[in-house]
């Protein structure tokens, strides 16, 4: 029996092990097949970017720039091996390699990526050093050793075998970060010729003294991204020479002390079809270390100038009222995030229960244009004491317009942010009007307002000081701020609602401001004429004296007059005849502020003290240059502003003026209850559901038992 069982168990056991083997083989084969499918799927894949701001997709900018390459772009990637990289850098390598692969794909043969490992070959490492590609030396530690590993992640772009650019160290955290660095670099090497832009600037005088550096407008001009594509040339000539004929664009930074000759130079530049961009200010306020904001006298027209610059602009269709503006609409003068970014405008350190914190000080002289159609607020603005004045509302609806009144690509990024760049003590720059609301532009000229304040703007002649803080201890300063605001509020109650234009674009065939008038002479010409006149007078005098006395021998006559017999120096080319009418359509873009591009504000020199700091000034300047050049290549990239996803639990406007403590308390209260609700509601719902199911089940059970009994 036993032996028979044993003999039967043998084949069964063999059958079982055979079946197990079959299952194992089956499973292994399946794993191999599925592995192949996954491998193939990773080779031929489709990718969809679900994010609404498309931050994981190559922008149209990159595609356009790569499409326009007419020579081969070689990207030399100096990468040390990926497997030696620390974990935190592997992600950036992956991002970078994916982006380079994408460039090769969209380049269709025009983009070639060559990879070099500087750790493998000393010659390559030496070349990296020559190219100024910087290694990343990281300390690595194990249980037995401590070493410093050298990693490389730099790029060199060579376009058409000539122009090149080196990116010494690339550590992009995301696709978007890689694109925002690499695409402008490609654009830079592919740019054949720099666009020439002339400028004239009148640096900021502080305390009556010119500061050598730091308070001009040079910081943005020297930014690599701009300097590699645009060539800026200072054309402020003391002798008032006419501007070069090949100059297309001229920037004027806070023009002042303008002589008639300078005005003539600008006039003739416009007559030749030039584009003039004016960053104007009605006044100049010194930002002293304690931010006293005292006015520094500014005179637009130089002494002896017979023609006013304001009249000249009016001749072209621009109405510049040299007044300083304050926007009383809270959202216009509030920083985007005033609890953490109060330094964009004005903030003061205040002692709160959470320690010393910067608290925003409402200061309506620093504000931005809002991407809001203010005509929609007409009813609200026309309501007084709870009663709506329908006629007034209708008038307001007609009178007021959007804050950013243009769909030009210059504003694309700003429309997304919801506001224009912040302006500091801006001035009124509008279109010439014959009556309020009735635009009166010269024949052949068109114009439009591009930026406007809110309808709650106050305009005034620049007062000697606009200091809201004052001196003294915290209490005195708080009182000073309160008094300052009270004064503004009183003015706001008594003055009519108006919307100030902040930027205009005027273009067309201008008529010369100097038409029919004598051409203003250059200082050197005046000097020359005066010298000639003096010489003529001297000669006439000498002749008169000669008649009376005997002529002296030649050697006794004394030295010849300075310019009588001296060899003549190179004479300036004769100046072109004045143009009374434009030869080609010209253009004036006038912006009612220059402070927002000032070096100290752009660099954030006053951040530590609580502002002001021009956070969007740089972005505006870059966009403006591209817009003027009608260069849309980088448009998509520049307008890819990550959407602000900040949670707004507390309405900043509802919190009494800048009290960080109250805001913090309100915030804590709200978040506490939200957390409780988010946790408790689903948990309680599930528990209640379970309880209900249990009750139903129990009832069913009881009725079943009852039916049985």
């Amino acid at each position: 029996m036993t032996s028979r069982n044993q003999t039967a168990a043998g084949p069964r056991c063999a059958a079982q092990s055979g079946a197990a083997l079959a299952v194992t083989v089956h499973v292994l084969l399946l794993a191999v097949v599925l592995g192949q499918i996954v491998f193939l799927a990773s080779r031929h894949r489709l990718r969809f970017d679900l994010t609404s701001d498309q931050m994981s997709t190559t922008s149209a900018s990159t595609r356009t720039i790569v499409d326009k390459l007419d020579k081969r772009l070689v990207i030399e990637a100096y990468f040390s091996p990926k497997d030696k990289l620390p974990v935190n850098l592997r992600q950036s390598r992956e991002v970078l390699e994916n982006f380079l692969d994408e460039l090769v794909q969209i380049g269709k043969g025009r983009v070639v990526v060559q990879r070099f490992d500087p750790n493998e070959d000393k010659a390559i490492a030496d070349r990296c050093t020559r190219l100024q590609i910087q290694p990343l030396d990281l300390r690595s530690q194990s249980s037995t050793s401590l070493s410093v590993d050298r990693h490389w992640q730099g790029l060199r772009f060579v376009y058409g075998g000539g122009k090149q650019k080196v990116m010494s160290q690339m550590l992009p955290a995301s696709w978007f970060a890689a694109e925002i660095q690499l695409t402008p670099a490609i654009k830079e090497v592919a740019t054949q010729q720099k666009r020439k832009i002339g400028y004239m600037e009148w640096p900021i005088a502080s305390g009556g003294q010119q500061q050598a550096g730091g308070t001009g407008w040079g910081a943005l001009r020297s930014v690599d991204q701009i300097a590699k594509r645009f060539e800026f040339q200072n054309l402020k000539d003391e002798d008032g020479a006419l501007l070069p004929n090949d100059l297309e664009t001229l920037f004027l930074y806070r023009p002042k002390d303008l002589t008639d000759r300078q005005k003539y130079v600008l006039d003739q530049f416009l007559m030749r079809g030039g584009t003039m961009v004016v960053f104007a200010d009605a006044c100049e306020y010194a930002i002293a270390p304690n931010r006293m904001f005292n006015r520094v006298p500014v005179v637009l027209d130089a002494p002896g100038s017979s023609r006013k610059f304001v009249d000249q602009l009016a001749c072209y269709g621009i109405d510049w009222k040299p007044k300083v503006l304050a926007d009383m609409a809270a959202q216009a003068h509030t920083a985007r995030d005033r609890l953490t970014q109060a330094f964009e405008y004005l903030a003061l350190p205040q002692q709160t229960q959470f320690g010393l914190q910067m608290a925003a000080v409402p200061y309506p002289y620093f504000f931005h244009a809002m991407a809001v159609d203010w005509s929609q607020s007409a009813d609200q603005l026309a309501t007084r004491d709870g009663k709506l004045d329908k006629d007034l509302a209708a008038a307001y609806r007609k009178q007021f317009g959007p804050g950013i009144a243009s769909d030009d690509f210059l504003w694309k990024a700003f429309q997304q942010v919801g506001r224009g760049p912040g302006f500091y003590w801006p001035t009124w720059v509008g279109l010439r009007e014959k009556a309020p609301g009735a635009v009166d532009l010269p024949a052949g000229v068109t114009g439009r307002v591009m930026l406007r304040s809110s309808p709650a703007v106050l305009a005034e002649d620049p007062p000697p000081a606009l200091d809201p803080i004052g001196r003294g201890d915290a209490r005195a300063r708080a009182q000073s701020v309160q008094k300052f605001q009270q004064k503004l509020a009183e003015r706001f109650q008594s003055e009519p609602r108006q919307q100030a234009p902040l930027m205009v674009d005027v273009r067309g065939t201008f008529a010369s401001f100097f038409a029919g008038a004598e051409r203003p002479k250059r200082p050197s010409e005046i000097k020359e004429e005066e010298a000639k006149k003096a010489e003529a007078e001297r000669q006439a005098k000498a002749a008169a004296e000669g008649e009376a006395t005997e002529p002296k021998p030649a050697d006794e006559q004394g030295p010849p007059p300075p310019d009588a017999k001296q060899p003549e120096g190179p004479k300036a080319a004769p100046e072109a005849d004045p143009l009374a009418q434009a030869q080609a359509p010209g253009r004036i873009l006038m912006i009612g502020d220059s402070d927002f591009l000032r070096d100290d504000l752009v660099r954030g020199d006053h951040r530590q003290a609580g502002g002001p700091y021009s956070t969007l000034g740089g972005a505006f300047f870059v966009a403006l240059l591209d817009w003027l050049a009608e260069d849309r290549d980088l448009l998509e990239l520049q307008s890819r502003v990550p959407v602000d996803r900040k949670l707004e639990f507390v309405d900043a406007e509802a919190v009494p003026t800048g009290d960080a403590r109250l805001a913090e308390q309100a915030l804590r209260r709200t978040t506490f209850w939200l957390v409780v609700a988010n946790v408790a509601v689903p948990v309680v719902l599930l528990a209640l559901f379970g309880f209900a199911v249990r009750l139903v089940r129990r009832a069913q059970k009881r009725s079943f038992h009852a039916s049985l009994s």
Binding site: Q16, A19, A20, V23, H26, V27, L30, A31, L34, G35, I37, V38, A41, S42, R45, L46, R47, F48, D49, L50, T51, S52, D53, M55, S56, P81, K82, D83, K84, P86, V87, R90, Q91, V643, D644, R645, K646, L647, E648, F649, T671, L674, V675, A677, N678, V679, V681, P682, V683, L685, L686, A687, F689, G690, V693, R694, R697
Partner: protein
């Protein structure tokens, strides 16, 4: 398909009739929502579900094995599997029914977390498409873990063993996809080996979709991964069924 539906209904009912599912649900939701809500609403102050979806895989790793341990092991222990095996249905249908019921239950629990994105959407500008994508990824990720858990439940009659084994395997799979562990592997594996090991983990693919990039590769991976374990599960049951 009809058989799967019958099994699906039976299993889903059993989930909702069992107090364990509620204990599981309450604990899971309580821990997940408390940490995620604190992170998003208090610390983060951003309308982003990153904290939530960052924590979810870890919690699924802890909560899915106890949920799936009973799927086959309990049937075997109580002897109801014999009854189930005599049911005139394809083994695959039985597996699919149980799998779908588990995923449906987890889906129901995930639906209860929708309050958090709704809150974030109410107080900020929440980017909804990636959130929807991340919920889809969560369901696929949970489905993968369910498939693994069910497979190990089919191998043993002891629920605790099934739970521990699946917990261990899932933990390994989870960690393989974690970038920190990939760094450790680098010391003793070649790059292609690290990539292979890294590529085995569902966590890697979950992360990719949860970030807002829907890739066909990730979807194919999840389909293959789940298909593999469900097929293996069906094979084990089929083997047992034919063995008698």
């Amino acid at each position: 398909m009809r058989d799967s539906l019958v099994i699906f209904r039976r299993e889903l009912k059993s989930y909702f009739y069992s107090p364990i599912a509620y204990v599981f649900g309450v604990l899971f939701l309580g821990v997940l929502l408390y940490i995620a809500a604190k992170g998003s609403l208090v610390a983060g102050m951003q309308a982003s579900m990153q904290g939530f979806f960052g924590l979810l895989p870890l919690l699924l790793l802890i909560f899915v094995p106890p949920l799936t341990m009973r799927s086959w092991a309990e049937e075997r222990k109580t002897g109801t599997i014999e009854l189930l095996m005599t049911y005139p249905a394809h083994t695959g249908s039985l597996v699919a029914g149980k799998y779908l019921a588990s995923v449906a239950y987890l889906g129901f629990v995930l639906v209860l977390t929708l309050g958090l994105p709704l809150t974030l959407g109410a107080y900020g500008r929440l980017d909804w498409p990636p959130v929807v994508g991340a919920y889809l990824a969560s369901l696929l990720f949970a489905g993968s873990f369910v498939a693994v858990g069910m497979f190990f439940s089919s191998l043993t009659r002891d629920q605790i063993v099934a739970m521990l084994v699946s917990l261990f395997v899932l933990a390994v799979l989870y960690l393989l996809g974690h970038p920190l562990l990939a760094g450790l592997f680098l010391e003793w594996l070649p790059t292609w080996g690290v990539d292979l090991v890294h590529g085995l983990s569902p966590y890697k693919y979950f992360e990719s979709i949860a970030r807002g990039a829907l890739d066909t590769r990730d979807l194919v991976y999840f389909a293959c991964f789940q298909g593999f374990f469900l097929y293996a599960n069906a094979l084990v049951l089929h083997h047992r069924r034919t063995k008698g």
